[in-house]
Symmetry: C2
Amino acid sequence: MAVYTEVPDSALSAFLDAYDLGTLLSYKGIAEGVENTNFFLHTTAGNFILTLYEKRVNEADLPFFLNLMEHLARRGLACPQPVRNRQGEALGRLCGRPAVIVSFLDGVSVKVPGVDQCRALGQALAALHAAGRDFGMTRANSLSVSAWRPLFAQAEHQADSVSPGLAARTRADLDLLESAWPTGLPGGVIHADLFTDNVFFIGEDLSGLIDFYFACTDAFAYDLAICLNAWCFSPDGSFHRDRAAALIAGYEAVRPLEAAEVEALPILARGAALRFMLTRLVDWLNVPPGALVQPKDPREYDRRLTFHRQARDARDYGRA
Amino acid sequence: MAVYTEVPDSALSAFLDAYDLGTLLSYKGIAEGVENTNFFLHTTAGNFILTLYEKRVNEADLPFFLNLMEHLARRGLACPQPVRNRQGEALGRLCGRPAVIVSFLDGVSVKVPGVDQCRALGQALAALHAAGRDFGMTRANSLSVSAWRPLFAQAEHQADSVSPGLAARTRADLDLLESAWPTGLPGGVIHADLFTDNVFFIGEDLSGLIDFYFACTDAFAYDLAICLNAWCFSPDGSFHRDRAAALIAGYEAVRPLEAAEVEALPILARGAALRFMLTRLVDWLNVPPGALVQPKDPREYDRRLTFHRQARDARDYGRA
């Protein structure tokens, strides 16, 4: 949670002059978002979110993310919609950073998801995959299997200080995943980071998806595997089969999995867990001095890997 | 800027059940507020701020602050109004902290105030003093002159490490202020912390005052002296006579100063500067490990003191 960039009122006013958003009534820095600076913006035209992209976002990727959100919103998916200024541009600059205004999405994220919420998530994930099918741009997944060994190389010498035996476990996982990683699965646009903070509910209803800044082109079932990890385990590593069954059933109610996807599910889930364990491990070992953000614990994903290593097929994930 | 207390959605939902605020649509932690945790709250009943009081606020003082905000709002002052729950209580508990919901106030705070904004501030400050006249409660100013020497005692041995000569300068200021501090000036409820972040504007118009958690019973002219320090100097210590003249003129357009207040203005301004220098100095020297908040620089107020020490009368502050 952090505001990395302070925006003076005078700079914001000048920035907003390029938009048709009426008078600025209020703006407040939001204590969320690990990667970027976000402001809640209230104008006579409504509520918005202003995002300043900090150094971890590659500016060259922004057109993909922004066009994708516009595309998905046009297809009826509830997600933030970039606001274009009078020149027709969605991407601007503010305080030296790339900056974008998007529509404000109501909803509350759950900390501990229930079965019904997992089912709703599955449906929304499949709807997202369907809505992205005719999106014209692509973006390689820069955090897929080929990126994991170089990531691990940054942390390998200190891995055992985080958890005894972690280095050896990770080397074995990498060997297996690199040789067994499935190719040719049905794919397209995936969210790739659909953690609970990025899914909004109003009452019992899923009201929207946010934070498309890891979206990329990859296997649909890998996105499902990321959600299995993010939604169906407790921090202590215990697996909630009922949630996983509901998540998969919700997904398949909209888009049934193909046989190859069902077969690949355990390896995809194991890979997804390793991906998040590795990025968390690198962040954990490299907290900058004066950091505004508490790094997430890589051991939560190390514990999930214990489950994945013993899973034999999709039935172990609650698929009927 | 910080969210000191994470509030799970389930805890918030249970808390809101006691209020008539409809369905929760959104809540986001706000990266503002040095003392407390604040959330922006959107429900079907409107926009609100939820505040959790952290350890620096004395719980016994909360009824004073909350009743004051209700009183001032009833007198037509634009300030946050506490929302009472179905039991008629404004003060609740959430995540082990005292917690209050107040109405959301639109407006934007300026970083570098202009002359017109200073005049508007002066008018609003006098209106606040008038609106508080018939408020039934009192609260001693726990950060007035008698508190300064004990505060300094916590920092004296390290003061020169912050700015050479600061310890000797402060001892001399304390000696003078303790002997010359005025008593018997007109007084009542003062805000006591009306920095630019606590004053909102929409366009050119002052739209409201917030953050009454230093409010107390003290001399009205001392509140004006705090504003002179907060609004009429640059961080480098340079004094903006035009802003100060407008601030005082705005104040006197609503409530003319008495002769004793005019005479006391230089010593009050000097005392106000010392008060903020001292609390900043103590915070500066005691940043807790893992602090989420960057402490404010006490030297900004040391530099203002250089101006105050050479001021002879209220004309030096731009009073006609």
